[in-house]
C-alpha cells in the first residue's frame, strides 16, 4: 500500500489509544511512568514467549501452541505487574505529590496498566505490517485477501481496547478476590487470540473479537462504577453535580486538566 494507507491504517488502529494517551495519561507524569513500566512487563512476557518458542523446536510449526503460551505469559506478567505495584504503593504515595487519586482510585492504575499492555502489543503486532505498507503495492497478487491491511488494523484496535478492559477487570478481580472475573479475563484473552487462528476468515474473526471487546468493555465499565444511570447523569451534564459537590469536582477537573 501507499504512504496514504500507512497513515490511514495507523490511525485506525492507534487513533483511540492516541486519544486516551494524550488526554488522560500524558497530563500526569506518574501515569506516564506507570504506562511505560506496564508496557515493559508486556515486553517481558513477549521475551519469555519467544524463549519458550525457540526452545521447543518440535512445536514451532503449530501456531496454536505459541498462541496459548503467549496468552498465558501475558496474563502471568499482568499478575506480576499487579504484585509489583501493590508493593510499590507506599512509594507511589510519596512521589504522587499530594495527589492521592492514583492510589485511592484503583481503577485508574488498572486502566493505565491496561493501556500500556494494549499499546505495546498493538505496536508490536501492527508495526511489521505498517512498515511494509509504505511501498507502492498492496496485497492480493498471490491470492491473499485484499482487505488484509484494514482487517489487521481493525483487529489491532480491538486488541488494544481489549487489553485496556482486561486490565481493569483483572486488577479489580484481584482486589476483590473475584476469581470468576479473573477466569473471564484469561478465557476471553484465550478465545480472542485463538479465534485469530481462523484468519483470514475475517467475517468470522472480526465480529467475534469485537463482540468480546464490547462485552469486556461493558463489564469493565460496570466494574469501574458505571451504569446506565451514570451515563444519563453524565449526559445531563455537570451543572447539577457542581451544585452538589462543587469543590470535589473542581479538584477533579484541575487534576485532569493539568
Amino acid at each position: 500500500m501507499t504512504v496514504a494507507e500507512f497513515f490511514g491504517c495507523g490511525l485506525i488502529a492507534f487513533g483511540p489509544s492516541l486519544a486516551m494517551f494524550g488526554l488522560t495519561i500524558a497530563t500526569d507524569p506518574i501515569r506516564t511512568i506507570m504506562l511505560v513500566a506496564s508496557a515493559f512487563f508486556w515486553l517481558l512476557a513477549l521475551l519469555f514467549s519467544s524463549i519458550l518458542y525457540t526452545a521447543v523446536v518440535q512445536l514451532q510449526d503449530y501456531l496454536a501452541f505459541g498462541v496459548v503460551f503467549s496468552v498465558l505469559f501475558q496474563e502471568l506478567f499482568r499478575f506480576l505487574w499487579f504484585l509489583l505495584i501493590q508493593k510499590a504503593e507506599g512509594g507511589l504515595k510519596k512521589v504522587s505529590d499530594g495527589n492521592m487519586q492514583i492510589v485511592e482510585n484503583k481503577h485508574i492504575l488498572a486502566y493505565v496498566s491496561g493501556l500500556g499492555f494494549g499499546m505495546i502489543s498493538g505496536a508490536f503486532s501492527l508495526v511489521n505490517v505498517l512498515a511494509d505498507m509504505t511501498g507502492p503495492g498492496t496485497i492480493g497478487m498471490k491470492g491473499d485477501p485484499k482487505n488484509f491491511f484494514i482487517a489487521s488494523a481493525v483487529t489491532s484496535l480491538a486488541f488494544i481496547l481489549l487489553h485496556v478492559f482486561w486490565g481493569i477487570l483483572f486488577f479489580n478481580a484481584l482486589h476483590r478476590r473475584a476469581y470468576l472475573q479473573l477466569a473471564y479475563v484469561i478465557l476471553c484473552h484465550m478465545l480472542a487470540s485463538c479465534i485469530t487462528l481462523m484468519n483470514p476468515i475475517y467475517s468470522v474473526t472480526i465480529p467475534t473479537i469485537w463482540i468480546l471487546t464490547i462485552l469486556s468493555g461493558v463489564l469493565a465499565f460496570i466494574v469501574a462504577g458505571g451504569s446506565h444511570r451514570t451515563i444519563q447523569s453524565a449526559f445531563r451534564g455537570r451543572p447539577q453535580v457542581l451544585q452538589v459537590n462543587a469543590d470535589a469536582t473542581g479538584n477533579f477537573t484541575q487534576v485532569g486538566g493539568m
Partner: protein, 700 residues
C-alpha cells in the same frame, strides 16, 4: 529497502505475530506477500562519450507503472488512446523493440518504463525478419580510419552502403525511461499471468483497480557526458560509487617465442594475428556476441594452438615472431587497439623499460610489425566454404605495400588450397575496410594487412551487437563438449586450419598443411557460446572459474572495478594453448616480475597440477583519452566512452490499490482518531459522573 530477514529475526517476528495473534501464518514478511522480485539484472544503463549520453535511467526511487503486455500492434493504440491508468510500463517481445515504438512511447508521455520479455518459444529467425541490431549502420565509423579521409569515396562509403543495414542505433540513443530485458522464464510467466489476471482489458474496456504494476529501479549516477562526469569524479565522489568510469579491460596477447630485451627484434618481423574480444548490447549482464566476437576469438585461439605445436620448427628456421592478440573494447571506438598503438608510439608497449629486471620483455613498436591478419565476424558465411578478405584501399595505393599485401593474399590462397575446405575471395580493392581493429594501426602506420570476414558487403549477421547474437544465431548445435554432429565448429576449425597454414608459410616460407584440433575448437566454442562452467574453464580457470555461471560468456568490456572473470579465464586458456609445461611445483610456478619475458601459470585442476611457461599476458585496455593530459574530449581522436555508476537494478511486480481506496482508508483513520478524541474527552471530563464517583450526592 532490501533488508533480509535473518533466521533469528524471523523467529522473533513469528512470535511477535503470535502475541499479536492475528497475522498470516508461517511468519513470512508481509512484504513478500505484496511484492515479487523478478529478473532485474539486465537493465539498460547509461554510458557517456565526449559529447553525449546514451542509455536509460530510472528516477531515484524507481519508475512505477501499470503493467500492459503488448501482444499485437493494436495494443499500443489502446494504451495511448484509451488506457486510463497512466503511467504504464509496457511489456513486449523483441518483435516490438524498434526505435519507432520506443519513440512513440516517449512522445505519448504515458509510459514510465519498458520491459522486453523473451519467452522460451520466441524464435528470432521466423519472427524478427528484419533482423535486430542496436548498433549504428556504420559501427565505430567516427573513430575509424575513414572518418577523416579526404577521399569522399571512402569517407562516405558506409553511409551509401551500410555495413550493418539492420542497425537501429538504439544502443546509442538516450531514452527517458528505464528498459529491462527479461529472459528468465519464471519472470516472463509471472508478468504474463499477473497481466491476464488483473489488467487485461475485457472487450477493450479497462479493468478496475487494483491493477498489476511494475517498479523498475535502475537509477544512474552519471549525467551529461564523459567530460562533465569525469570532472565531477575528480572533485571527489560523495560516496564510494562513482558517477562514471572509463570503459576498461585488458588486451590479452602472447607471442610464439619469448622476446628478451637483450635480443633486438628485427624490423618487420612480428606477424600480428588479431581478433576482437568484446561485444555489447543495450542491457547489462548479457552480451553473447556469438558472431560479433566469439567466432573470431575461437578461430584465433584454435589457430594459435595449432601453430604452437610447430613452434620449434618455426623458431629454428625463421627470425619471425607471431603475436596473437585479442583486443578489448573495440565496440566502443577501438579502445584496445588504439591503446596498443598509442603505447607503441610512446615506446611503452608492453611496458616502459625497467632497470634491474632480468629477462625483461622486449618492447615492440610499430616498425616491428610485419603483417596484420585480423579475424572479424567469420561464423556466418552464406556459402559455408567462402570467406572474404578485405584490404585497405588507402595504404595499398603505395606500390611497395601493395606487393606485400598481394603476397599475403597469395599465401592465404595457397593455404586455403592446401587445406582444401575454405576458399577466400578478395573484396574489390576500392572498398574500404569494414569495422576492424587494424584501422587503429593504419591511422598511424602503413602496414600490410587483411581483415577476414564472412561478408562481402553488408554483414551477414542480422543481430550484430545485440542480445540475439547467440549460439542460435550462428546455428551452433553442439549440446556438449564432445558433440561431433555440429557443423559450426567444423567450419570454425577449417578457418583456423587455413589461418594456421598461412601463418606457418608467412613465418617459415615453406608450405605445410596444419590442421587445427576440431575437438579443442568445439570445446572452446561450447564454453563461450553456451556454458562458461565447461570442462576447459574448470581446468584452466582456477579461482576465476568459481565465479562464472553456466551461461554464455558475457563479452562486455565493463569498467576498472567491473567483472573481469571471462578476461582472466581467456588469458589462462591462451596461456594453456600457447604455453609449455615445465617441471615446477606450485610454489615455484610464479614470476619474479610482470616485466619478465616469460610468465608462469599454475593450473591445479589440470592433470593434478600443471605449471605452464608462456608469453601470454594481459595489458591494460583503457582509452588513451583518459591518460593524455588536457585531452580534447570532442576531438574524436580516441574513444571517450565511460559508463555510469549505479547502485542496483531491480524489477518488482505487485498490485496497486485505487486512489479511492486509499482516500477511504485515510478518512477511516481520521474518523477513528476524531471520534475517539471526542469520546475520551467526554469520558475523562465527566469521569466523576460516569464512574459514579460523585454518585452519593447525586443519588440523594
Amino acid at each position: 529497502m532490501a533488508s533480509k530477514v535473518t533466521g533469528r529475526q524471523a523467529t522473533l517476528l513469528r512470535v511477535l505475530v503470535l502475541s499479536g495473534t492475528f497475522f498470516l501464518a508461517a511468519g513470512e514478511r508481509v512484504k513478500n506477500k505484496i511484492y515479487d522480485e523478478i529478473q532485474g539484472d539486465m537493465a539498460c544503463f547509461k554510458r557517456f562519450n565526449g559529447t553525449h549520453e546514451i542509455g536509460c535511467t530510472s528516477k531515484f526511487f524507481g519508475n512505477t507503472g501499470v503493467l500492459h503486455v503488448i501482444e499485437e500492434k493494436a495494443d499500443f493504440d489502446w494504451v495511448y488512446e484509451h488506457g486510463p491508468h497512466q503511467p504504464y510500463v509496457l511489456a513486449f517481445t523483441p518483435l516490438f523493440l524498434t526505435e519507432a515504438v520506443l519513440e512513440r512511447a516517449t512522445d505519448s508521455g504515458k509510459v514510465s518504463g519498458v520491459v522486453v520479455v523473451v519467452p522460451e518459444d520466441f524464435d528470432p529467425e521466423t519472427q524478427l525478419l528484419d533482423g535486430f541490431s542496436g548498433e549504428t549502420e556504420c559501427p565505430d565509423a567516427y573513430l575509424g580510419l575513414y572518418n577523416a579521409s579526404s577521399n569522399p569515396d571512402y569517407a562516405g562509403y558506409c553511409r551509401k552502403k551500410p555495413w550493418n543495414p539492420n542497425g537501429t542505433s538504439m544502443l546509442y540513443t538516450s531514452w527517458e525511461f528505464p528498459i529491462f530485458l527479461i529472459t528468465n522464464q519464471t519472470s516472463v510467466n509471472n508478468i504474463q499471468n499477473c497481466f491476464e489476471k488483473f489488467n487485461k482489458p475485457v472487450n477493450g474496456m479497462p479493468r478496475d483497480w487494483p491493477l498489476c504494476s511494475l517498479e523498475l529501479k535502475s537509477n544512474m549516477y552519471g549525467t551529461t557526458n564523459s567530460e562533465v562526469c569525469m570532472r565531477r569524479a575528480s572533485i571527489g565522489p560523495l560516496s564510494t560509487d562513482n558517477f562514471c568510469d572509463p570503459l576498461y579491460d585488458y588486451n590479452i596477447w602472447g607471442t610464439l617465442k619469448p622476446m628478451n630485451m637483450s635480443e633486438e627484434i628485427p624490423e618487420k618481423s612480428v606477424i600480428i594475428v588479431a581478433a576482437r574480444m568484446d561485444a555489447a548490447t543495450m542491457f547489462d549482464n548479457i552480451s553473447p556476441g556469438a558472431n560479433s566476437a566469439v567466432s573470431g576469438i575461437i578461430t584465433l585461439m584454435s589457430a594459435a594452438a595449432a601453430i604452437f605445436k610447430h613452434k620449434e620448427e618455426i623458431i629454428n628456421v625463421s627470425n619471425k615472431n607471431i603475436l596473437f592478440i585479442l583486443f578489448q573494447g573495440e565496440t566502443w571506438g577501438y579502445i584496445g587497439s588504439s591503446r596498443v598503438v598509442w603505447d607503441m608510439e610512446q615506446g611503452q608497449f608492453p611496458y616502459k623499460v625497467k632497470d634491474d629486471v632480468k629477462d625483461q620483455i622486449a618492447q615492440i613498436n610499430l616498425t616491428h610489425i610485419d603483417y596484420f591478419i585480423e579475424l572479424e565476424q567469420v561464423g556466418q558465411p552464406e556459402d559455408i566454404n567462402k570467406l572474404y578478405i578485405h584490404t585497405d584501399p588507402i595504404s595499398n595505393a603505395n606500390p611497395e605495400l601493395k606487393n606485400e599485401t598481394d603476397n599475403l593474399l597469395n599465401i592465404l590462397d595457397e593455404a586455403s588450397n592446401l587445406v582444401n575446405e575454405t576458399k577466400f575471395v578478395r573484396v574489390r580493392k576500392d572498398v574500404p575496410l569494414p569495422p576492424s581493429s587494424i584501422q587503429s594501426f593504419l591511422k598511424h602506420v602503413n602496414i600490410s594487412g587483411v581483415v577476414i570476414t564472412d561478408h562481402e558487403g553488408e554483414f551477414k549477421n542480422p543481430y550484430y551487437e545485440s542480445f540475439l547474437d547467440n549460439y542460435r544465431n550462428v546455428k551452433y548445435e553442439a549440446d556438449n563438449e564432445t558433440s561431433d554432429a555440429d557443423l559450426y565448429h567444423k567450419h570454425i576449425n577449417n578457418v583456423a586450419s587455413v589461418l594456421a597454414t598461412a601463418i606457418y608459410k608467412l613465418a617459415t616460407n615453406t608450405h605445410k598443411k596444419i590442421t587445427a584440433d576440431p575437438e579443442l575448437t568445439n570445446e572452446l566454442l561450447f564454453c563461450y557460446m553456451k556454458n562458461m562452467t565447461c570442462n576447459l574453464v574448470q581446468e584452466y580457470g582456477g579461482e576465476m572459474a568459481k565465479h562464472l555461471e553456466p551461461k554464455p560468456a558475457k563479452l562486455y568490456v565493463s569498467v576498472e572495478s567491473g567483472e573481469r572473470y571471462r578476461s582472466y579465464v581467456t588469458m589462462y586458456l591462451m596461456a594453456g594453448l600457447l604455453g609449455d609445461e615445465v617441471e615446477r611445483n606450485q610454489s615455484d610456478c610464479k614470476i619474479e616480475s610482470i616485466y619478465n619475458m616469460n610468465h608462469f601459470y599454475y593450473f591445479s585442476h589440470l592433470h593434478n597440477g600443471t605449471c605452464v611457461q608462456t608469453t601470454v599476458r594481459m595489458t591494460e585496455a583503457m582509452s588513451p583519452a583518459f591518460l593524455i593530459d588536457d585531452y580534447d574530449w570532442k576531438s574524436g581522436e580516441y574513444s571517450t566512452w565511460t559508463e555510469s555508476g549505479w547502485k542496483l537494478t531491480k524489477v518488482m511486480i505487485f498490485l496497486r490499490p485505487s486512489v479511492l481506496e486509499e482516500v477511504a482508508v485515510v478518512c477511516g483513520g481520521v474518523v477513528s482518531l476524531v471520534l475517539s478524541v471526542i469520546v475520551v474527552h467526554f469520558m475523562n471530563s465527566r469521569a466523576d459522573l460516569l464512574f459514579g464517583l460523585s454518585t452519593p450526592p447525586a443519588a440523594c
